[in-house]
Point group: C2
């Protein structure tokens, strides 16, 4: 989004399903399907309004704050061919004037009471949120419900905001070698599914987005029966219900949204590499990815096993990859693994690493390959799985211990084909994963001949070339950039 | 197509724009935009029927034969996402019963008089043809016009013929490592354009093609205003005109077909590789491809220069690559280059090679890279260009010296956004290419950091591994398979 006042041109692309390699290694799915413990099952309620809007209420009275989020079940993977970027572009347009309120009034009201707001677009959903005092909940619901129905779209707003998203692409992608590489990795990993297309859009298609596209998108997708409202925080069910009926209840059901069926992946038979060398790159790095089922698409237990496999293989500094390459051998400045299982359609599994000192990408890659081969051959131990499981559950508890985090978990999960029950039963399913399951998914999905490896290199570099011999002057180049989750455009 | 009698399950995929690497290296565009000399400009006539059908007549009285072709301006690149294979599947359905004739009658009539018939589907067009005695022209026109309008589509024919195309995919693609590799090369080379999708379709999508898809495709695309009729051979304009009005003239214009706008490629920034190792591969080979403009999309003169560049670099055994790698060094069993400029949208340029004896793919690739680098750095000489130009023009004259070849040149060219004038002026444009133009297009398009290299290897092979030391028992493994042009499915 950009605020209507033009002060904030926020632009965090959070791609629910897909990696932005070398950019962020926070597992995106950590926010999906993983709310539990501190909020008991009975605390979460959900209901539908007559117009089809799903409402989820998650009381949390630890602080006098509410988080209000509307999740539209539409993301960039729902875009028509040739119209890439329309989902995110439309998110921007939602901050324009409506029939009832001038542009910027909503944002100004939220700011005036010290609230926070933003929006983001992913492959599978587009969400708008505000965090305010409970007394302001009706105000934000009124404005949010209003723009679900009454947005004013015309040539002027389309032209102005198109320039904003084009600038966003220029500054965040086109000027960033790792972002450019990530785009082409996705376009290579996914051969048929629209996850291959960047959330922000291809430049030449963004330039052509027009008023007709925006109007069609609004009519087709911004209907209450295609959205989930999540309210978490210092609020109760009765209050939210009354307010939701008073505000969103007035929005007519404007379209029927069919089943979300996107082109799926064919069987893959090749090993692929994608390389980018650029003078702006100081720290070479590599990433190896595979298609892997998501929580929504996997057979029972597979996604949970992939999550724990990623934890054991490279989820923390206790992991096999980190211990072997960074701690013992010292060949890598960093290295790890992650699983992205939060998407509606097929997700991915990845390992990554960057050499230290005189190491090469090829050496780091070989070291990681050896760790994968070892798990495929010998599996993992009971003790190792238990420790990893505990670390993993703890990290998720930590990640979700905020009302905004909870709202996000429920919103993203319900927007990607799963249910509240899936979220609540998730810890039990993680607890049921057995050592054999870990070995099985490693063997099934981490197949070298179907992998996509990417190399980010200094200009004219090659993966097997030594990094400049001098050690980095500071720890800076050895740290992973601390960026938020993967693949959201705010 | 498959003949309605089930005897012929022909299945030559002719992908106008794209390579089937390791499969055929005949430049597909050799049949586009290159008819000239023996038929003078005045001999070719064209006109439109009232229903919008374009008719081209190419008299050629050397033999008492006519070639009759109908070219629909629809191919696999026009398919909706998720419906891959429908264009080719539909081509099969066109051999079923119509309201006026039982299934197989058309094919039988052609066979009875010693005629030939077939059909093929490409990325950009679908064509049906018969070659018969002039006296049978009215008969084939009657049947062909009939199935443009009166095809009977029902669950039964769809189900039966779907099994046929699925079997075609199994036998031609899924059981063929080089075909599987070619599919993923295209899916990697084209990041956004539908040329990424195989003409025959992805298996899982072919399995879902249904009656509704077939009906929609027929209505939308099989309308006279979306087709070009080409009649070449022992016939004159007046006769064809009268017969066309009598037969095709009765077919109503059933749909308006808008401009053919497919999603175009974004700027590419990465170097990619695609590898497949399979025990059925005996002769390793590699291919390196780049996106390059087609005749339809290029700036004036660029496509012509790319054609001559391919000739100089690797178009024959006189070419630089062949002379260096096969003749002088002897490191390659074969090696060459080709340009595919016959597509409606962006085409491609490729070099390829296979090692001989103890050579490796990496060595052959390096040898070819050196030849490309030399042209980019030093260009070509006047004498070299002149010889290549003469060879090239001669080979094209030879290729087109048949009435079927002429019909094909006109049909494919007019189905991919070019005109009769483009065809007729093409030799002059080839003659105008200068040495600087050759160097310019090499520099502009053969950029290593935007290339896609594919490796086909014996099981567990690597590009830099030596081939088994023993020489091949026969010349067989050193020969390129002699297959027809690239990318047609008959």
């Amino acid at each position: 989004m950009s605020s209507a006042l033009g002060r904030i041109v926020a632009a965090v692309v959070l791609t629910g399903a897909l990696a932005l390699p070398f950019y962020s290694f926070v597992p995106a799915n950590a926010e999906s399907a993983k709310a539990f413990e501190t909020t008991s099952k009975d605390d979460v309620s959900s209901f539908y309004l007559d117009n089809g809007l799903e409402v989820v209420v998650i009381p949390d009275h630890r602080a006098p704050v509410v988080t209000h989020m509307v999740w539209y079940h539409v993301g960039s993977a729902d875009e028509e061919p040739g119209k890439s970027g329309i989902a995110h572009f439309f998110e921007h347009l939602m901050f324009k004037a409506t029939k009832n309120y001038p542009a910027g009034e909503f944002s100004r009201k939220v700011a005036e009471i010290g609230g926070q707001e933003n929006a983001f677009t992913s492959y599978d959903y587009t969400a708008y949120y505000q965090q305010v005092a409970p007394s302001a909940l009706e105000m934000v619901m009124t404005y949010e419900a209003d723009r679900m129905e009454n947005l004013i779209l015309n040539e002027d707003v389309v032209k102005t905001e198109r320039d904003v998203v084009l600038e966003e692409r220029r500054s965040r992608t086109d000027s960033n070698p790792s972002a450019l590489l990530a785009e082409e990795v996705n376009a290579t990993l996914y051969q048929n599914h629209p996850y291959r297309t960047p959330v922000i859009g291809w430049l030449h298609e963004m330039q052509q987005l027009n008023l007709a596209d925006a109007l069609a998108f609004y009519v087709k997708y911004y209907t209450p029966n295609n959205a989930t409202l999540v309210v978490s925080g210092d609020v109760d069910l009765a209050t939210v219900k009354a307010l939701a009926e008073k505000t969103y209840g007035k929005v007519p059901r404007r379209a029927e949204v069919g089943k979300r069926e996107r082109p799926q992946e064919p069987e893959q038979n090749t090993k692929r590499t994608v390389s980018l060398a650029d003078q702006r790159v100081s720290q070479p790095s590599f990433q190896k990815m595979w298609l892997a089922p998501s929580y929504a698409s996997a057979k029972p237990g597979e996604a949970e096993a992939l999550d724990l496999l990623s934890e054991i293989l490279g989820g923390s500094n206790r992991s096999r990859i980190y211990q072997a390459l960074v701690v013992s051998e010292g060949s890598a400045a960093n290295a790890g693994a992650y699983y992205q299982g939060g998407s509606l359609d097929e997700g991915s599994f990845a390992v990554y690493g960057a050499p230290r000192g005189a190491g090469t990408l090829t050496e780091v890659e070989a070291g990681i390959d050896a760790q994968i081969a070892r798990i495929i051959k010998d599996g993992v131990t009971e003790g190792e799985l238990e420790k990893a499981r505990n670390r993993f559950l703890k990290s998720v508890i930590f990640a979700r211990d905020s009302q905004a985090g909870m709202a996000r978990i429920y919103g993203s999960t319900l927007s990607t084909g799963q249910t509240i029950r899936d979220i609540q039963e998730w810890p039990d399913r993680i607890r049921k994963v057995k050592v054999q399951d870990i070995q099985d998914v490693a063997k099934r999905y981490l197949v070298d001949s179907r992998s996509v490896t990417s190399y980010l290199m200094p200009e004219d570099g090659k993966p097997d070339e030594k990094v400049r011999a001098e050690a980095p002057a500071s720890g800076e180049t050895q740290e992973q950039p601390e960026t938020p989750a993967q693949g959201i455009v705010q």
